[in-house]
């Protein structure tokens, strides 16, 4: 074991920035009474972390901490994404944190630490580091879901999430133990080396371990059949936390899954193991079908978005099935655009406050608040995958990656289910545009003070909308960063 050097620490700059800000917030917790200061600090830390992560991406890939930690294009891509999601979530939280009597310093510190965990996870080249990163994230998430302590349904959601989450973590840990038992190591590279020596006839111990590992990761991205926690947790959590779980947490889970597939589950010919490919395809199909069909029945918007995020996890997984670099890049692109359009949709839910939680709340929105309705329509179209929005490009690249490998049935299933999800999102659009508002007294949409959004929320929505549009029209600008490891 070599001692930790300064160069190792240099690899951790983005994570250290977030941890530093989290500690600063915790130290000053008693003094920070309003959200403003904590928000500014968190957003600044997230932006600086994103910038440094992006800057590290420009350098050639480097290893640190005895090969347990890597800084390559793949990890940095996701770090920038996670930090951006953190910044947007923080901006979206502004109004809610003040009104829900949430302690701002703790709330933001938890968000920062959760993001740190995700960043560590996407850089891990060792099962133990990976576990630590993911566990840091989930521990913070449990608290974040239940942060509205005086709301019973928030507590209920946190307990459900905690029970299921700790079970999944246990499975994951048990998987690591079995893999260690089979190979004698937790290092990705060493595992691959041992597997390639033993050849294709694989150890059953290893296979059981690998399945448990996959189950643990599938839980993180809420892929069917490990999805049951998501709708309850999203519904009970306050909306910005739900948005954060649906986006950053899912992106980090996908990144970790991709890394594990890419680094461990390889045939000697450097291809993805066919068994793993089958498992991924099964997870993807189940997630797409269950997510889109069950979403049809939802009337609570956060539950609806939860099921839609389950379906989207399935679409994102499609890219991994082929095991090619192009496929991995497709999933990276998907995750990227998915994060922004979902944050946008949740952002509208947040902007509408209590009204935004149920489907009925959207009735006549286009008359009362045309700009908010137009933004929601944009995000819904993107989630449906209609050009020229980023959602279409995302869907296009993942379907391209499965067709390239000849999985036509998967491609057809995926697009047919996208018609079902279209109906899901359409119901919201119909409510907004084609139903008359309930209140007969029409406010003037341009001068009504109640339809003014806080600057922070407007800024977050604007960024999400911009990425959704630019990603659809000039995807090359944004996706050229998505490079498989």
């Amino acid at each position: 074991m070599t001692p930790v050097s300064i160069t190792d620490l240099a690899l951790l700059i983005p994570e250290l920035i977030l941890v530093g800000m989290a500690l600063a917030l915790l130290l000053g917790a008693s003094r920070i009474q309003t959200a403003t200061l904590a928000t500014v600090g968190t957003v600044l830390a997230a932006l600086v972390a994103a910038l440094t992560a992006g800057w590290l991406m420009l350098e050639p890939p480097r290893l640190g901490f005895s090969g347990m930690f890597t800084v390559d294009g793949y990890s940095q891509f996701f770090k920038v994404l996670i930090a951006s999601a953190l910044a947007l979530t923080t901006l979206l939280s502004v109004k809610r944190v003040d009104s829900e009597s949430v302690r701002p310093a703790e709330y933001h510190a938890l968000l920062l630490l959760a993001s740190t965990g995700m960043m560590l996870a996407v850089s891990s080249l060792d099962l133990i580091t990976l576990y630590l990163g993911l566990e840091l994230t989930t521990l913070c998430s449990y608290v974040l879901v239940g942060i509205m302590v005086d709301r019973p349904n928030s507590n209920e959601a946190a307990i459900k999430y905690f029970l299921l989450g700790s079970f999944a973590s246990a499975l994951f840990l048990y998987g690591i133990a079995l893999i260690y038992g089979a190979t004698g190591t937790t290092d990705f590279e060493a595992i691959t080396a041992i597997l390639s020596k033993s050849g294709p006839g694989m150890d059953s111990l290893f296979m059981v371990g690998a399945s448990l590992l996959a189950a643990g990761l599938a839980f993180k991205i809420a892929a069917v059949p490990f999805h049951a926690w998501a709708p309850d947790a999203y519904e009970g959590a306050h909306a910005p936390v739900a948005a954060y779980l649906a986006t950053a947490s899912k992106a980090a889970g996908l990144a970790a899954l991709g890394r594990v597939c890419w680094a461990i589950f390889k045939t000697p010919g450097n291809e993805l193991l066919p068994e793993v490919s089958m498992v991924l395809a099964g997870l993807a199909v189940l997630s797409i079908v269950v997510g889109s069909v069950v979403a049809l029945a939802q009337t609570n918007i956060k539950r609806l978005l939860a099921y839609s995020s389950i379906a989207h996890a399935g679409y994102a997984l499609l890219g991994f099935i082929s095991g090619t670099a192009a496929g991995t890049e497709a999933t990276m692109t998907y995750a990227y655009f998915y994060v922004f359009m979902t944050l946008g949709a949740f952002g509208v839910v947040i902007a509408l406050e209590d009204r935004g939680e149920t489907l009925e709340g959207y009735q006549g929105l286009a008359v009362e608040r045309p700009k908010t309705a137009a933004l929601m329509l944009l995000f819904l179209l993107s989630l449906t995958g209609i050009p020229p929005t980023a959602g279409f490009v995302a869907k296009f690249v993942v379907i391209l990656s499965v067709v390239q490998e000849g999985y036509y049935a998967l491609a057809i299933l995926a697009v047919v289910c996208s018609v079902i999800t279209a109906f899901v999102y359409l119901r919201v659009a119909v409510m907004m545009y084609m139903k008359e508002p309930e209140s007969t007294a029409l406010p003037d949409p341009d001068n009504d003070p109640s339809s003014r959004l806080p600057l922070a929320v407007s800024a977050a929505l604007a960024v999400a909308a911009l990425v959704t549009l630019i990603g659809g029209i000039f995807p090359g600008i944004l996706t050229s960063w998505a490079v498989a490891p």
Partner: protein, 490 residues
């Protein structure tokens, strides 16, 4: 850098739409819309005057590198040939007339209405100008959104049902086209989905068959062909006048245009395999559509069903695959665009006064509104294929081609023409002839100057194309014979 004619024409309406959203409070919206549509139409003038009819290939090409993801390179490429040019002009003209028709009819949320209309114009023009499949698909899908809103927000009493049905039908078709398009990209990555290079893709018969089915799903819904036509009567009937005009005038042509642009040149073997079934369902659409039309009691629904029958002629002409009939089919697409738009405009104008679409509530209009009666007579006769008016030429060419392929196809198509004349003359008889319906007494039914001005260009076009069809046909000779060459040499 040369002046990018097509790009300007395509995106000018979008700029106008943005202008309306930001500046168009209240009545100002319709003026901005009028200015934008007029400017767009004016911008088409150099396109028409500079187009060389005898030259093969695309003209006015705007080319720029656009998307590169992984090994996929797709260019932004617009261009016109003799087939697409008439449709671009028709799109520009019909949107202008839609603004005219909506001038007083649309009283709620005008800003969004005109913005949606202009976005639809960009989608229509872009679709016909696109010279690669990716761009074509983007405009194809973009078209659906404004029309969904036009039907669902400003439509009749059953509008939400109609709008959702329209959207789900078209989406179900187009997602299969998406898979087909991706399969083409995988089969020929160098082509960058460019139509011209895609035509050189060598595909096995099985692959072609599957791809044809995927494209058929999208195009057949749009045309619409029997039996996926059921969205059409609802959508056309519930849509506001402008929506019906765009639907009948342009949207239905997109499907047939898709066959000409994608299915025929890229999948020649599959076309040969599916020839007979396509011809048969075309004839079924003609006859079935005509009989169902006869049974309608709602004016708008009647015209909507007649579109199914008339579009049957178009697909019949396309799949006979001989030069004159294909030219006839394209001419007939333009003709139907003019006539069905005119009929929907006529119905919309009178609906604004009477607020009823039931035929039995009309009668004897000729007594109080001679100009309206004259114009309606002209359009009904044109739709029925009366010699000297535009549809006659198109139907004549198509039926001639059908006789060459199989005599019984031609015979059945003629039966369709007979039925068409019946339902149109009967409609005219019930609405215009006889004594004035008691419910209409006291209403001022005659058209005003704005409405006459809206209908006049279409009436003139119906006459002009009837007397001198060569003005469209001359554009078609070169591209259609090129298409023939591609199909003949698989």
């Amino acid at each position: 850098m040369t002046y990018p004619t097509l790009t300007v024409i395509t995106f000018l309406p979008l700029v106008g739409a943005a202008g309306i959203l930001f500046l168009g409070r209240g009545q100002r919206a319709r003026w901005i819309a009028l200015a934008t549509t007029l400017a767009t139409l004016a911008a088409m003038a150099p396109l028409c005057s500079g187009f060389v009819k005898t030259e093969s290939g695309l003209q006015f090409v705007d080319l720029a590198p656009w998307i590169s993801i992984g090994n996929m390179q797709i260019d932004y490429q617009l261009g016109v040939d003799g087939i697409s040019l008439p449709f671009i002009v028709l799109s520009g003209l019909l949107t202008l007339l839609c603004v005219g028709a909506s001038w007083t009819a649309i009283r709620t949320r005008e800003r969004e209405f005109y913005a949606a209309l202009l976005v639809a114009e960009t989608a229509m023009i872009g679709l016909f100008a696109a010279s690669n499949f990716f761009l074509f698909f983007i405009f194809w899908e973009l078209m659906v959104v404004p029309l969904f809103l036009l039907i669902g927000v400003w439509g009749g009493s059953n509008r939400v049902y109609a709008a959702v049905k329209f959207l789900l039908f078209t989406l179900a078709g187009s997602v299969l086209m998406l898979v087909g398009m991706i399969a083409l990209q995988v089969a020929n990555p160098e082509a960058g989905l460019n139509f011209k290079q895609l035509a050189g893709t060598t595909l096995g018969t099985t692959a072609q068959t599957w791809l044809f089915l995927a494209f058929l799903a999208a195009f057949a819904v749009k045309v619409p062909m029997f039996p996926v036509h059921t969205w059409l009567p609802d959508a056309h009937t519930e849509a506001p006048t402008a929506g019906s005009v765009i639907l009948a005038g342009i949207l239905l042509k997109m499907g047939a245009y898709g066959f000409l642009r994608v299915a025929l040149p890229v999948l020649p073997q599959a076309v040969q395999i599916f020839l007979m079934p396509m011809l048969v369902i075309s004839v079924v659409a003609i006859i079935y559509g005509a009989y169902v039309t006869l049974a309608q009691t709602d004016v708008k629904r009647l015209i909507a069903y007649s579109s199914i029958s008339h579009m049957g002629f178009v697909t019949l002409g396309i799949f006979t695959l001989n030069q004159t009939a294909v030219e006839g089919a394209i001419l007939q697409m333009i003709n139907h665009g003019i006539i069905s738009a005119a009929l929907f405009l006529c119905v919309g104008m009178i609906y604004e006064r009477t607020h009823t679409r039931e035929i039995k509530d009309y009668g004897g209009i000729g007594k109080t509104a001679p100009i309206y009666a004259t114009l309606l007579a002209l359009f009904c006769l044109a739709a029925a294929g009366f010699p000297g008016l535009n549809s006659f030429v198109g139907e004549f060419l198509i039926i001639g081609g059908a006789f060459k392929t199989k005599a019984w196809l031609g015979a059945l198509a003629i039966w369709g023409v007979v039925l068409g004349t019946t339902y149109l003359i009967w409609l005219y008889y019930r609405m215009v002839m006889g004594e004035l319906n008691t419910g209409l007494q006291g209403l001022k039914i005659e058209l005003n100057a704005r409405e006459i001005l809206t209908l006049a260009p279409l009436a003139l076009l119906a006459l002009y194309l009837g007397l001198y069809p060569e003005c469209v046909l001359s554009y078609l000779h070169t591209p259609v014979s090129e298409l023939q060459n591609i199909i003949a040499t698989p």
